[in-house]
Symmetry: C2
Subunit: 434 residues, 2 copies
């Protein structure tokens, strides 16, 4: 058994049952206990032999409210290396913001089940919420406890990103303020931009130096840009804005129109902003390996109806279902992560909103813009070379680029580039997203 | 390519683009289209070659409302056997009732993702809702479309169990009426019993002869009994009442108390009714292979607090999270199904509410009672032989047995056994379940 760096606050000796009873009744009360972190960032692992119990020493609980603290059964120590029945990978730390919301309520259970990172990859979930959602976060942690996921080894909850983001290898930033009544898009950019500026600073200070950041909270492209600008020590190319749900919806609509099952549709790009200026690309898309325009011989539909159908899905869903698309958004986040940790199939690609520096498409630098990417499965990606453009596609890409440049000017005070000037055009929020 | 039994309403010839445009614009409108079913129960599979499209002929839509009809992209034909990249198992049909509810909103995406039946098992989802929830069901189907699950080949939605249950191999019966203000447990048994009597008749008439039925809607034990009594042509042992969430919660509480990770806890049985008379069994349970009573040397806690902690989880969760436990319930349904389709680990078992005939524990016959089971992974199960009893355990099992006998007398009018006599004791609904 390997026992790495035992923090002094862990009691390594076997406990008598009276002590056990004291500690474990505290645990079963589900009070959060603040565990001191090892300062050098390495993890503490304690070995637990059969019939020998260990519990963290009780330390002050007053700090608990502001710390990314362990929860319930996840406060217990364990030793993955002592498990003779299975060979585990090294645990990875995943932060999720907006963790008490509906998208997260789907996503967290997917992460914990192993369907994202695989059946031999143990994970720690670091849940970031707000003061207001702290109780709900405890509810989420309770349900994670009751699910007995063998891969889920640690759950921490907290409201301070400087605690929650400590050593995280993935940060899935879902939480964002919704737009209030009468609020302009500029106002939304400002209030959410402030959140993402703070989270960028926190990631810069405490996260893994190669953390991958996936921004879902809207307006996600510009939020991602603000976040990366505030995290200069993290590679800018590690930041993503989620456009995968748009890509998935585009594939589904193309499949429906062509009368084929959706697994036959490939090479679909969402270009640009996650807004109504986004460009679902039917020029490069393929069905059964054949260019879409040769399969769907209906230019009017492609140019005038297809994009609108993709963009209206969220609005239609709210009308029918009464809620916004939490489950399929969570699925698309899973898809987006998987696209970075598994090799992209030969000849295909995926869309992600990424930093434009070095892009081969002539898109203005220093933006977060959705573009076609490929990955070797190492968490990194490269731009796709063999895409084609026509006037129609270029014109629409330019429009989304102009919008993102305007959004960037509007948040200059949050990216450290001077005084904000907001000259945003019409409202380009996607239907069904608030 | 294999083309099996082509129904006359399928157009097998290659369509011209004008026809395609007509058909596919219908599809992309997401109108549900009533597809005539093959009468002999075998599935229709049409082959689609590259760049050749097929769509079902439009038939009358007036019937759509009452039929278990295909939805959107899932109305398209496909040929699993033509896929040269993968070897697929034969598609299985899974019905889910209460499909527009929150538990199903988690469960359906788990089923579709492959985490329940495996990555080479294509599935068809048959969603049963009510007239009131039909729009929401369409929203659920839309989100399933947008998720592009490669394993999910068909989605049907409907409100008539005689349509929706056609040929299903699994029926996950989640939908039930909540208890209204002032309603007695007897009233709840009656209104939900009627639903499960009807669903039993429908399963008996149209489902696969070896369908496995998992009843989640409460009161689930007696609902399952009513269901099986109304389905005499389906083996009674195929019916299950879900007590797996209780088992999972019991394991978590034992882990917390002992200060070990939950994967060290095994052999936990929930005996009896899914109500407050249920008996989480700490006599047979083990931690690291050692009897719990030798590890947790605190009889008072085991006898007086443990059961209450397990039962109060749902109530605590509602207080914290503001909703009932949808995600962890869905996880426990997944666990329950997996326990039947994968071999039980050597020396362990799982709990399920099953038909008592032939049980070796001396429990009254002709009930649905949660007991310890093992499976070879073939969908079937057997009772565990080597369990022990003491007076405490037997006394509590007897109480739950008495309650289920009383519930059975109270629904005699629904099981075909005469006139109902309701002499139910106090309210035994679990906290957090309405």
């Amino acid at each position: 058994m390997v026992v790495a760096e035992l923090s002094p606050s862990y009691n390594k000796t076997s406990l008598h049952s009276s002590q056990l009873s004291f500690f474990s009744s505290r645990l079963s009360d589900h009070r959060r206990i603040s565990l001191p972190r090892p300062q050098n960032g390495r993890r503490v692992v304690c070995s637990v032999a059969s019939n020998q119990v260990q519990a963290p020493s009780p330390v002050q609980t007053e700090e608990a409210k502001t710390k990314g603290d362990c929860y319930g059964v996840f406060c217990l120590t364990y030793d993955l290396e002592a498990d003779e029945t299975k060979s585990w990978k090294k645990l990875i730390n995943i932060a999720v913001s907006g963790a008490a919301g509906m998208i997260s309520n789907h996503l967290l259970f997917k992460l914990a089940s192993g369907e994202v990172f695989g059946p031999d990859q143990p994970i720690a979930l670091k849940l970031l919420g707000s003061e207001r959602s702290l109780q709900a976060l405890e509810g989420v942690a309770m349900e994670l406890e009751d699910s007995l996921f063998p891969l889920l080894r640690e759950v921490n909850i907290g409201i301070d990103p400087y605690d929650v983001f400590q050593d995280v290898e993935w940060a899935l930033l879902i939480g964002a303020k919704p737009r209030g009544p009468g609020m302009e898009r500029a106002g939304l950019l400002d209030i959410n931009g402030q959140i993402f500026a703070e989270q960028g600073k926190a990631l810069n200070a405490v996260a893994s130096r190669n953390v991958k950041v996936m921004v879902v909270g809207n307006p996600c492209n510009t939020n991602a840009l603000i976040c990366l600008k505030n995290a200069p020590n993290i590679p800018a190319k590690n930041f993503h804005a989620l456009t995968r749900l748009d890509e998935n919806r585009a594939k589904c609509q193309l499949a429906l129109k062509a009368g084929v099952f959706y697994d036959k549709v490939s090479n679909v790009t969402i270009w640009g902003n996650h807004s109504t200026t986004q460009v679902p690309d039917f020029l490069n898309a393929r069905i059964n390996g054949i260019p879409v325009k040769e399969v769907i011989n209906d230019t009017k539909w492609l140019e005038e109806e297809f994009t609108e159908m993709v963009q209206n899905r969220g609005g239609v869903l709210i009308k029918k279902w009464g809620r916004s698309s939490a489950a399929s958004t969570a699925v698309s986040i899973v898809d987006a992560i998987r696209s970075l940790v598994t090799p992209t199939p030969e000849g295909d690609w995926f869309s992600s909103g990424v930093y434009t520096n070095g892009n081969p498409y002539g898109i203005a630098e220093d933006l977060v813009f959705s573009m076609p990417c490929r990955s070797k499965g190492d968490g990194d990606y490269e731009f796709v070379k063999d895409v084609i453009f026509d006037d129609y596609l270029l014109r629409r890409i330019s429009k989304s680029e102009a919008e993102l440049l305007a959004e960037k000017r509007c948040v200059a005070h949050l990216t450290g580039e001077g005084i904000a000037v907001c000259d945003l055009p019409e409202d380009t929020m996607l239907p069904g997203e608030v």
